[in-house]
């Protein structure tokens, strides 16, 4: 395991594209988490100009709700993380360095795990950024701060980490089959934003949400903010076991097929 980390680390340490994309993702995540309150405030101000009933202002940065809000929000940006993974995987096919690695004595299973490791590291990186942003924003925006309140909803962060692992396993699966970065990015965009919504639309309501992108999105439901209560919506405040189970099935499927593909095919 340590050997694989060492090898992967050497591949990305001097890879400019990786660092540029990662920095951009970091910047994006920071801008979004720190800027979202301002955007919401603006929207409320604008609509209050025309609305007969004023919408109350609310903060999405308060502990412990912030963990749910932040992880829900960050979920929209996971495609950018996906692009980084796509490039790191398809590079190996593009440069044919996957052959180089195998010829020099890496097993095919080790190669698979080295990419799975990258996937986990990307997810850990994102979650750490989110926790730091959450702590800063939560601490500065919560009036009655206490440690127990601050950490009480942290399971949303764990759920977000799991969602990222599942999503990235889907990205890895597509990358391994497509082998070309442009093709993989194109397919993932097409599938996530057009194909799957279309299929979902045709499916009976019982089966909706079973397909991977919806299933991963369902893990963290829309947060229950004061705004939602104004409109009379009441969303789930917890993580449903069935949602986790559906995602686990996809995760196992995507990773095992990816492994099998690397294990069995001509490289």
């Amino acid at each position: 395991m340590l050997k694989l980390i060492k090898i992967e680390f050497k591949k990305i340490l001097y890879y400019k594209t990786f660092w540029i994309l990662s920095s951009l993702f970091l910047l994006l995540l920071t801008l979004v988490t720190f800027g979202i309150q301002g955007i919401i405030d603006n929207i409320i101000n604008d609509s209050n100009l025309h609305s007969p009933i004023p919408i109350p202002k609310f903060s999405i940065y308060q502990f412990p709700d912030i963990w749910h809000n932040m992880s829900f929000l960050a979920g929209y940006f996971k495609i950018f993380l996906g692009v980084i993974l796509i490039i790191l995987i398809t590079n190996e096919y593009n440069f044919k360095t996957i052959r180089n690695n195998i010829i020099n004595g890496l097993s095919r299973t080790e190669f698979f795990f080295s990419k799975f490791l990258i996937l986990i590291l990307l997810a850990i990186f994102t979650v750490i950024v989110l926790i730091i942003a959450g702590l800063i924003l939560g601490y500065t925006n919560t009036i009655n701060f206490s440690f127990s309140i601050a950490t009480s909803q942290l399971h949303f962060i764990a759920a977000f980490f799991f969602e990222l692992i599942c999503y990235l396993s889907f990205v890895m699966f597509i990358s391994i089959f497509m082998k070309r970065s442009g093709l993989a990015i194109g397919f993932i965009l097409l599938y996530s934003y057009i194909l799957e919504p279309l299929i979902n639309y045709k499916l009976p309501s019982l089966l909706q949400g079973l397909l991977p992108i919806s299933a991963f999105g369902n893990i963290i439901q829309v947060p229950n903010t004061q705004l939602m209560r104004v409109f009379g919506y009441e969303f789930s405040k917890s993580i449903a076991t069935t949602d986790i189970l559906i995602a686990v099935v996809w995760l196992l499927l995507f990773s095992s097929i990816s492994w099998y593909k690397i294990y069995k095919s001509d490289l």
């Binding site: 890879y15 360095t97 010829i103 001509d266």
Partner: protein, 297 residues
Amino acid sequence: MKKIILSINNLSKRYGKIQAIDKISFDVNRGQVFGILGPNGSGKTTTLGILLDVLKADSGSFSWFGHTPHYTDRQKIGAILEEPLFYPYLSAYRNLKIIADIKECDDEQIDKVLKTTGLLERKHDKFKTYSYGMRQRLAIAGALLNNPEVLILDEPTNGLDPQGIAKIRKLIVEISQKGITVILASHLLDEVQKVCTNVAVLQKGKLLFSGHVDEITNEGVLIELKSNNNSTLIQILEEIEFIKSVKKEGEIIIAKLTKGYDAEDINKYLSQQGIFLSHLKTRKKSLESYFLELVTE
């Protein structure tokens, strides 16, 4: 130490309609410089690809070092397959560091192999800035890491200038003198003849011949003869049972002998018949003519 390093047994692989290799079997022993000879598309790279686990065979089997192949075997095999494969954005040194990590060998060896291949001065330059010849040499440097027991070279002199070719051939000879087994795939007959002790000849995925290079050159030795009376000489030669064929090339008569006979036998026979020669010479048949014979048959 086991004598047989590599044993291939009925290996086959098909790409769609094309039978890339068809039931190939041969053994490579420790210390041999083994040539795999064949024209382009004869299945050389496919065979090596399977042996290195980047391709999967349809049927058949092979063993490295006397046991069923395990990925750690490849840490003891240095190989280049087709083109040099490296991370273009990394320097030569950092590319070799990755290989050193995979092979689990000391980083100290990197400078040594870079020196052997004459790349030490350019070691911090990115791979993408390298010329084709340098890339090829870097690939050989990578293959030399971890003191391999076997070196597999697929068309190692492809795309090199005459100087580069000479350097690489010298390197191969030096490597084999250290007792490292070398497996060399080439479409250049001359190359195989110059450096190899053993050879397997492939054509359209089929194994045409496998054996010692000398076996090929000894196969049906050609003898040049001349006497004052060539027409009588031809008559007598045609009666000798160990002579396969006789033909005239200007003033010189060429006799093809059956395996196991040489110029001495013919000389002895003719002198007993009272015929004395003004010219007698063994013409060593080049691997090239043998190879051309094999592939045209």
